[in-house]
């Protein structure tokens, strides 16, 4: 089951979701912000959006704030789902 971050009701009602899928690109670790058929990937190491498209500025400020506040929870969810590539990088990769 994909792990999903609970969101404030207003954002949920607008169709926003934040998920970590059971199977997705592993490197870099990221959370997927979803609305309709658009998806924004948030790098959990740099805390930055990873793609030019769709435009990260289309993610509302309220949701970006949630992502910052819940960063530790997103890291925990990622590490549970993808223990083979945790957010904290192994020393031999640095």
């Amino acid at each position: 089951m994909p792990l999903q971050l609970p969101l404030p009701e207003r954002l949920s009602n607008e169709g926003w979701k934040v998920k970590i899928y059971d199977n997705e690109r592993l490197e870099p670790p990221h959370a997927t912000v979803i609305r309709g058929n658009l998806a924004w990937r948030l790098n959990l190491r740099s805390r930055q959006f990873m793609d030019r498209e769709p435009d990260p500025r289309d993610v509302p400020r309220e949701l970006r704030d949630v992502l910052q506040v819940e960063h530790a929870e997103l890291v925990r969810l990622w590490d549970r789902t993808h223990p083979g590539n945790p957010v904290t990088v192994a020393e031999d990769w640095l």
């Binding site: 899928y21 059971d22 997705e24 490197e27 309709g36 030019r52 789902t81 993808h82």
Partner: protein, 255 residues
């Protein structure tokens, strides 16, 4: 005929959005440039007396319903490509419409079918192209969620495939199985390490292979390659790495 989405306007020839038309009941046509000639029907019955006038063999048809063999043969004679299958393997007609007007329509899933005999999942994309993914690619997640190939559907409006309680993103699927998608995905990324070492690491992790598992190549050597301390491995090393990862040597850098 009823026009959906957008009203008729004098600039329709240059209108940059696809336009749907309902013909008869629930049979939609899409009339715009590269998406022109794609028809969608929600039931087999809707297609029985339909012919794409003057366009024999050029248009493509998606039916979100099961077709019996004679009807499938009949439609195959009329359309260049016929894709069919039952719901919930396909999105609803409304969701399909949203996929087809999306800018990235070809990267979204319209439907998913399972071949038990071939142990493969067939994903029907927004452009009706099919992508085949072996069951073995869908590994259990760290939470213990395993794919259930008897219960498949498209979810998140075409962004993911659901196999029981397990979900796989279309991004990961296409990144793994469509070289063109990989190239486009890399262009979309704001920042990415395009070095050979970084690509090798991404591919190795995606395939679930540890550094210890490369025959004849030490763990240390793989780590040095991934860190960029060796810019380019020897030909034999590259071949051994590619064989273990199930790709062509020249494809490693595309990941």
């Amino acid at each position: 005929m009823t026009l959906l989405d957008r009203p008729e306007d004098p600039h329709k020839e240059t209108e940059p959005y696809p336009r749907f038309t309902i013909v008869e009941r629930g049979l939609m046509s899409l009339r715009f440039s590269d998406r022109e000639g794609l028809w969608v029907a929600s039931s087999a019955a809707q297609t029985e007396h339909f012919q794409p006038a003057g366009r024999h063999g050029r248009d493509r048809l998606l039916v979100t319903d099961e077709l019996d063999s004679p009807l499938h043969e009949y439609l195959t004679a009329l359309f260049s490509d016929v894709v069919s299958g039952p719901r919930p393997s396909f999105l609803s007609i409304d969701e399909i419409r949203r996929v087809l007007v999306a800018r990235q329509f070809a990267d979204l899933a319209l439907g998913v079918l399972v071949s038990g005999a071939r142990e493969a999942v067939v994903i029907v994309r927004g452009d009706l192209e099919r992508t085949i993914v072996p069951w073995s690619w869908f590994r259990s997640s760290g939470t213990g969620t395993a794919p259930d190939f008897n219960d498949v559907a498209v979810t998140d409006a075409g962004l993911a495939i659901r196999l029981g309680k397990y979900e796989a993103s279309m991004d990961a699927i296409l990144y793994g199985f469509d070289r063109d998608y990989r190239a486009r995905a890399r262009q979309r990324q704001l920042e990415t390490d395009v070095s050979f070492g970084a690509a090798l690491r991404r591919l190795r992790l995606q395939k679930g292979v540890t550094r210890e598992e490369f025959p004849g190549i030490s763990q240390k050597e793989i780590a040095r390659l991934e860190r960029g301390e060796v810019v380019r491995p020897r030909e034999a090393t590259l071949r051994a790495i590619a064989d273990k990862l199930g790709v062509e040597p020249g494809d490693i850098e595309t990941y």
